[in-house]
């Protein structure tokens, strides 16, 4: 949809390459290791790399101690679901890291965290639009407007102007 493609707050991801400026490289994965990032990891000497596998950012104390331990001249590579990427990025920024040091790998397409603009509920792993809000039960159109702070896309009730207008579920990209 052309109108959606124009929304500039939606992040554009590129496959991370080695950060040539950095002296130390920290890799953070959600669950299993991403093959392409693993190749980057394997190409580094053992003295200049560190790895952190997390199921979610619930295990934040482990990550926080890694982020605080590393030298200033470090780079961070993150792979996982999109919401996970931004949670890790926000955690790193709280520890004083800057965006220039943080490289987010392209996430799995078609899974979004959604922020309900009516009741402020967050829904994880949303695959289809419209989605029924778990907080207020409204059918939400998932838009491409993205918040880095929430790591989420905005959802707005779809059939307000015409209650009969409830389109078929469409997979998110």
């Amino acid at each position: 949809m052309s109108a959606m493609a124009m929304i500039k707050s939606r992040p554009i991801y590129a496959q991370p390459r080695r950060d040539e400026r950095a002296k130390m490289h920290l890799f953070v994965h959600q669950g299993t290791i991403d093959a392409r990032l693993d190749a980057l990891y394997q190409a580094l000497a053992e003295s200049e790399r560190a790895l952190c596998c997390l199921a979610s950012t619930e295990e934040r104390s482990l990550l926080e101690s890694e982020l605080a331990r590393l030298p200033l001249a470090s780079a961070l590579y993150v792979a996982g679901e999109e919401a996970f990427l931004w949670d890790v990025r926000n955690l790193a920024r709280q520890q004083g890291w800057v965006d220039e040091q943080i490289h987010l790998a392209p996430p799995l397409q078609g899974q979004r965290r959604v922020f309900c603009t009516h009741c402020y509920s967050l829904m994880e792993g949303v695959r289809f639009s419209p989605v029924i809000c778990t907080g207020c039960a409204r059918p939400l159109l998932v838009r491409d407007h993205f918040s880095r702070l929430h790591g989420a896309y905005v959802g707005v009730q779809i059939n307000v102007e015409d209650p009969a207008d409830l389109p078929e579920e469409e997979p998110l990209t």
């Binding site: 500039k8 009516h118 015409d162």
Partner: protein
């Protein structure tokens, strides 16, 4: 002659809001040309502007003051999160308190008074029948958090933009009458991010140029611009949060009720550097006028017809006008001799 604030009218339910002839005469009609175009339409907000105009003072107080403060109270009662301030914005909130209070006491001495002895301040708001003593800079001495405290006394929405890394961030605000944007969702966004949904302008480089200009605004040299959209009924709170309560109004426009149902909504946006925090204050003062009041000015009626007729489809969609735009254009045609 300034218009004295009148008794409370409503922006919801029975919609008793109305404009006096004086308010119509000073309405900030936003279209300088027959065709609407995006531009970086920013100009210095030099005060005093023309006497009695909305540009006369830094903040414009008009006959709707009490109504808008009552409406703001209703919105905040329903959803306190319509006002937020991140902890690092405390000093910027105090900058705003000083700017509003000093300007109000100077520009509207019949309604507001400020006494300052060092950091001990006494503030009187005679319109809201309020008198407060507090220590400037000490948020614990105010009855409310600083952003909510001052925001409940001034017409229009406010955002305080933190400036860092050559960019502006939406880190505090009180937003109860927005044209369809959510402070809770947009919180913390950079300038280009919160304008993400706006079509066309990014490609034209409008936001890059505007940002370079805005980060260089010095203390005491505010700038302003007008923005506009259309609203059905005199509803101030057209937020995404409450969209389920007002979205269906867009389907209620008929050729017979355009004059009373459709309102031109104009935002007088002012950007002003906050001296202590280096934040930028973004005030969005909203004016509403019904089509039937607007067409009492033949020049406005004719111009609005031409603007609506030539509005790019992307903008019709983005501004949420699709359902009633053709009906409106047809109705306005009667005021344009070229048709």
């Amino acid at each position: 002659m300034r218009i004295a604030p009148k008794a409370i009218q409503t922006f919801r339910d029975d919609f008793t809001y109305s404009n006096s002839p004086g308010a119509i005469a000073r309405f900030p009609f936003p279209f300088p040309e027959d065709e609407y175009r995006y531009s970086v339409n920013i100009e210095p907000h030099l005060t005093p502007g023309p006497e009695g105009s909305v540009y006369e003072h830094l903040f414009d107080i008009d006959e709707h003051y009490l109504s808008e403060m009552a409406e703001r109270n209703l919105v905040l009662q329903e959803n306190p999160k319509r006002c937020l301030a991140m902890p690092h914005m405390d000093l910027a909130c105090w900058d705003m308190i000083e700017r509003v209070m000093v300007a109000f006491a100077t520009d509207y001495p019949e309604y507001f008074a400020l006494t300052r002895e060092g950091n001990h301040w006494i503030w009187e708001n005679k319109l809201l029948n309020q008198r407060d003593e507090f220590t400037f800079g000490d948020s614990s001495t105010l009855p409310l958090p600083p952003m909510e405290y001052i925001g409940r006394q001034v017409q229009g929405d406010f955002a305080l933009l933190d400036q860092r890394e050559g960019d502006l961030f939406m880190d505090a605000g009180i937003v109860t009458c927005p044209a369809d944007w959510s402070l809770a969702f947009d919180a913390g966004m950079s300038f280009s991010e919160w304008h993400g949904p706006v079509p066309l302008a990014h490609e034209m480089g409008v936001f890059d140029r505007a940002l370079k200009y805005l980060v260089a605004i010095p203390v005491g040299r505010p700038v302003r611009r007008l923005n506009w959209t259309l609203t059905i009924n005199a509803r101030m709170d057209t937020s995404p949060e409450t969209y389920p309560a007002w979205g269906m109004d867009r389907a209620s426009v008929t050729p017979d009720n355009v004059g009373e149902k459709v309102y031109l909504r104009v935002e007088l946006q002012v950007l002003d550097r906050m001296p202590r925090s280096n934040a930028l204050m973004f005030s969005i003062r909203t004016y509403l006028i019904s089509m039937q009041d607007l067409v009492t000015r033949p020049d406005w009626a004719k111009r609005l017809h031409r603007v609506m007729k030539t509005l790019p489809p992307e903008l019709v969609e983005y501004k949420g006008l699709s359902r009633f735009h053709p009906t409106l254009v047809q109705w306005l045609a009667q005021f344009d001799p070229a048709n």
